[in-house]
């Protein structure tokens, strides 16, 4: 389909999603539910992946250091900055695009084909806003928390492997974690997480909301949701990095 048509439709959709809610109490309740669903639901995968990747980054750097001139504390520093700069924001978001994106598109798409969305509209409820705004708000709120958590778990994973393998002295690793810390990296990382989580939730809901047909199309919408949000995340990663770090 025509790119400009799709983009236009997306922005019209967003305007409906962020229309002023009528029954704020119901929206608040939905935001809390989604915070639980999306937040707690994503916790497990973020923890597991961060721990393993943190551990592997640490080991790879450590085993690649052959020069005796290389200061060993750089290994801790490297783990810390890799997690903050790229892993806990971009990679975690790409993984969440797969997990959260397909589930949102599937959920909203199913509501579309089973006429639940029509039922809301008939009652006079703004279905786009009622169903989707709480998801976007919840995910945007929870993303920075997941990001910070991922950084700490990743570093902890690195720490554990250092302890277990003793490839370098633990003191060097711990020292590296504190050295040359640039606070703005954290801001940069959090901004990315917020933008990416907005992309994931809005793009996936958009795909689900305009499903036509049956279960086959709902499945396709799920795939499109993951592909489109992933591509947009990669593009915005580039743009934001150029804007914020240049």
């Amino acid at each position: 389909m025509n790119f400009f048509y799709l983009a236009g439709q997306y922005f019209v959709f967003l305007r409906r999603v962020f229309a002023k809610p009528e029954k704020q109490k119901l929206y608040l309740r939905n935001i809390l539910t989604e915070l639980w669903n999306l937040g707690v639901g994503s916790l497990g995968i973020v923890v597991i992946i961060s721990a393993f990747i943190g551990a592997v980054i640490t080991l790879q750097t450590a085993y690649n250091v052959t020069s005796p001139l290389f200061p060993l504390f750089l290994i801790g520093l490297g783990t810390r900055d890799s997690m903050i700069l790229e892993f806990s924001s971009t990679i975690v978001s790409l993984i969440l695009a797969g997990k959260v994106g397909s589930s949102i598109a599937g959920e909203i798409g199913t509501m579309r084909v089973t006429e639940q969305i029509d039922a809301l509209e008939i009652m006079g409820v703004n279905s786009a806003s009622f169903l989707i705004m709480p998801k976007i708000v919840a995910m945007v709120l929870i993303a920075p928390v997941l990001n910070i958590l991922s950084v700490f778990i990743g570093i902890f994973g690195g720490f554990l492997t250092i302890e277990a393998t003793a490839v370098i002295p633990t003191e060097d690793f711990l020292y590296g974690l504190t050295v040359e810390f640039i606070p703005f990296y954290v801001t940069y990382s959090l901004i990315k997480s917020v933008v990416f989580s907005f992309i994931i939730t809005s793009v996936s809901s958009f795909q689900g909301y305009y499903v036509k047909g049956g279960s086959l199309e709902v499945g396709r919408a799920g795939t499109r949701a993951v592909v489109y949000s992933s591509i947009l995340i990669l593009i915005f990663n580039l743009i934001l990095t150029q804007l914020l770090l240049a």
Binding site: K23, L26, T114, E115, D118, A119, M123, V125
Partner: protein, 250 residues
């Protein structure tokens, strides 16, 4: 009363409704019949505003639904109850919460008032015992009844039902038909029912519109339909073995 005047509606230049006009009265079950794909659902969805007609007017007690602002339209929507073909129950909520939903959204009633109304509506469709179940845990016929309870929660002036007994066995279908008829009489609702079920036609069809390929082909009631001379309508009726064998068709 609902007046539909010269409605046209096309999808991608393929006409789905052609110059349809009809009048639906309060306290009556108005049937829209026709073969699958003839445009019944499109007509219903156009009347309630889920599709925008290409031309024509739709008047709800004299108020033109087509030309009014979105804000005014919301107001009329709250007077509309609709029963979708698949029930369209909210699958995230229990039976009870489904019926309560419109009350939560559109009234400022107290908890007690809402509870009473929910109880009343579920009682009306004989489902008080299923209040705590999820839609996925009840049968198709029960889902339709919950959908009816939800549709009448806010005391609608207008009730629309899209194939209310599709996918149901004949006995359950009769229960649903009777329920719709009773509720229509009790609350003097203007009810419009899409169906291709000839049992319903003979049971509740006080006023019948036959649609053929997007056009209104015939109009009458359940008495006159059996004597109708319209060729397409007779062909449609003759598809029913029961009707043919019964010797009712003249």
């Amino acid at each position: 009363m609902i007046e539909v005047r010269n409605i046209n509606k096309s999808f991608n230049n393929v006409p789905a409704l052609k110059d349809i006009s009809c009048v639906f009265h309060p306290g009556e079950v108005n049937l829209v019949i026709g073969r699958s794909g003839s445009g019944k659902t499109v007509l219903l969805k156009t009347i309630v505003g889920l599709h925008h007609p290409d031309s024509g007017d739709i008047l709800f007690n004299g108020r033109n639904f087509v030309t009014m602002t979105n804000y005014e339209r919301q107001h009329i929507r709250r007077e509309i109850g609709m029963l979708f073909q698949g029930g369209a129950l909210f699958d995230w909520a229990t039976v009870e919460e489904n019926v309560r939903f419109p009350l939560d959204f559109f009234t400022n009633w107290t908890k007690l008032e809402k509870n009473q109304r929910v109880e009343f509506c579920l009682e009306r469709v004989n489902l008080s015992h299923a209040a705590k179940l999820k839609p996925s845990e009840i049968s198709g016929g029960m889902q339709k009844r919950v959908a009816i309870a939800r549709a009448i929660a806010l005391n609608p002036k207008y009730l629309f039902c899209d194939e209310p007994n599709s996918g149901l066995d004949p006995q359950t279908a009769t229960v649903i038909d009777d329920l719709i008829l009773e509720i229509t009489k009790e609350y003097n609702i203007t009810t419009v029912v899409n169906t291709h079920d000839l049992n319903s036609v003979l049971a509740v069809g006080e006023r019948i519109v036959f649609i053929y390929q997007g056009e209104k082909w015939w109009e009458g009631n359940r008495e006159s339909i059996l004597q109708a001379h319209n060729a397409e309508l007779r062909e449609y009726l003759y598809a029913s073995e029961v009707l043919k064998k019964s010797g009712l068709l003249k």
